[in-house]
């Protein structure tokens, strides 16, 4: 088992990326009851924006700041002018809308950037390696895990240490009541959706150098991200942390230990969790 540390670190890196993608997804679902199928497409958009910014400037850190901002604006526009209009017609319409958006974004990406993989190199300091557990390991993967941890801690601090956090958690329980207490819930929803989009954009930038940037990358991560929020419990940030790490490691060690079964392992885990605790590991009973 000399490969153990390598696969463990691989798992952490992929788990970190999964958390970045699923945190926004679970937040939007918990708050607005919208399962956003376009979330992964927005993540892909983040990766492509980043590709272009890197081509133009070569500045990874700049890309890491600008892409989330761009996605924040796109998310705000989608919520304000599309999602809010169909909200009164119920969940099915919201679901169909985000489903359609995912297709549109994917086609636009093919049209603008082409239907083939693009290589993204982070370069510089982050492109180097580091000695850890007695092995030489790419620093970038450590960086992915560290930034996921940072984002997770930041979100936890906002949710549990600020007044805004209290409002957000209350909205998860009962958004209509929050409205009746005098809070502008439509504005809160727009902010949450835009923040979720920004997170997906951040994850997209991070994913670029790790995975390849191609039009299928959205669907590739979407399934794992959905499994994360089902296993963790819909709307639970803590659940997303735990489930992301489990699934990251499962994907990583699955390839090492049961190569033929590795694709099925994720679904197996989800089935077991659903049978034992249908609301997910950290989900509240509805």
């Amino acid at each position: 088992m000399s490969d153990f540390p390598v696969f463990f670190l691989h798992g952490l890196a992929y788990g970190g990326l999964l958390f970045l993608v699923s945190a926004g997804l679970t937040l939007v679902f918990g708050m607005m009851n919208v399962l956003n199928f376009a979330h992964a497409a927005m993540y892909m958009l983040g990766a492509y924006f980043s590709y272009t910014i890197l081509r133009m400037t070569g500045q990874f850190w700049l890309s890491l700041m600008i892409c989330p901002l761009l996605l924040f604006v796109i998310g705000a526009v989608i919520e304000r002018f599309l999602l809010r209009r169909v909200h009164v017609f119920g969940h099915v319409h919201e679901l169909l809308l985000t489903f359609g958006l995912a297709y549109i974004i994917t086609e636009v990406v093919k049209w603008v950037w082409g239907n083939f993989p693009l290589a993204v190199n982070v370069g510089g300091f982050l492109g180097g390696t580091v000695e850890i557990f007695g092995i030489t390991y790419p620093l970038y993967r450590i960086f992915i895990f560290a930034s996921a941890a940072l984002v997770g801690i930041m979100m936890a601090l906002i949710l549990y240490r600020t007044r805004l956090g209290i409002i957000l958690r209350a909205a998860v329980n009962d958004s209509e009541m929050v409205n009746a207490l005098g809070f502008n819930v439509p504005l809160v929803f727009m902010g949450v959706f835009a923040f979720g989009a920004a997170l997906s954009g951040f994850a997209g930038v991070i994913a670029g150098p790790l995975l390849s940037t191609y039009p299928g990358m959205a669907n590739e991560i979407l399934i794992d991200a959905f499994v994360v929020i089902v296993v963790g419990g819909f709307g639970s940030l803590g659940g997303a942390v735990v489930a992301s790490l489990i699934i990251g490691e499962l994907q990583s060690f699955g390839v090492l230990l049961f190569p033929k079964l590795s694709l099925a392992l994720v679904y197996l885990l989800m089935s077991v969790v659903l049978i034992i605790k249908p609301s997910g590991l950290f989900g509240e009973k509805q």
Partner: protein, 232 residues
């Protein structure tokens, strides 16, 4: 203070409110009675903006409420205490109370300290999750939460539903105390025997409209109305 004039509200295609009118003066505790399904809760929701009436007018201190969103109505000074209490289950008692404070609410009214003084039980439970409270405690919390926003008028939907008789008495006394503190109260009830001790005036609703308006004496005298619209 509040004047509801001939409002019509729908739930989908069913015509729930068919011309409801009522008026409240400042400082009153008014009780809206009637059987299940006649539209009492819908009347409160229409005032609050949670249901939008298709016709009529609702004026609160000379401002038209119809067309306003719930948060806008709340900011004008209308508090809503819903049926089923609707406590934020995963928030602590203290956080639930913090949720009641509105941005830009006047200082000098209800504060957390004053709420804890008035409801010592809530103080003891301040770090407990809202979902872990008993029915009576939840009812206190939901009223206290609304008071935190310094409302001029509170709409209370079936506050005694599902509570033991002893707790019912406590909750009604609490509402009477709220009224004494200067807040106007409009409360929906099924239990008229309990509410008769605290309310100044009563409305009775039949299917979608008012059938009675009067004080305690008039209500006790109106045997036929009570037989037709209240007693089972």
């Amino acid at each position: 203070m509040l004047e509801v004039k001939d409002i019509h509200s729908f739930y989908g295609k069913s015509h729930i409110l068919q011309g409801v009118s009522m008026a409240l003066k400042e400082g009153e505790l008014v009780c809206l009675l009637g059987r299940n399904g006649v539209g009492k809760s819908t009347t409160l929701k229409s005032i609050m903006g949670l249901v939008k009436p298709s016709e009529g007018s609702i004026r609160f201190n000379e401002q038209e409420l119809i067309g306003k969103r719930p948060y806008e109505v709340a900011r004008l000074g209308v508090g809503y205490v819903p049926e089923d209490r609707r406590i934020f289950r995963s928030l602590t008692v203290h956080e639930n109370l913090l949720m009641g404070i509105r941005n830009g609410a006047k200082k000098g009214g209800w504060t957390i300290e004053r709420v804890y003084e008035q409801f010592p039980q809530l103080k003891q439970r301040r770090e407990n999750k809202g979902g872990h409270l008993s029915g009576g405690e939840q009812q206190m919390l939901t009223v206290a939460r609304t008071l935190m926003g310094d409302p001029k008028l509170i709409l209370v939907d079936e506050p005694t539903e599902g509570l033991a008789p002893l707790i019912v008495k406590e909750v009604l006394e609490m509402l009477a105390a709220v009224r004494s503190s200067g807040v106007t109260v409009l409360m929906v009830e099924q239990n008229f025997k309990a509410s008769i001790k605290v309310a100044d005036r009563f409305y009775i609703m039949g299917k979608g409209h008012m059938v009675f308006d009067g004080d305690t004496e008039a209500l006790l005298a109106a045997e036929e109305i009570r037989r037709n619209y209240l007693e089972v």
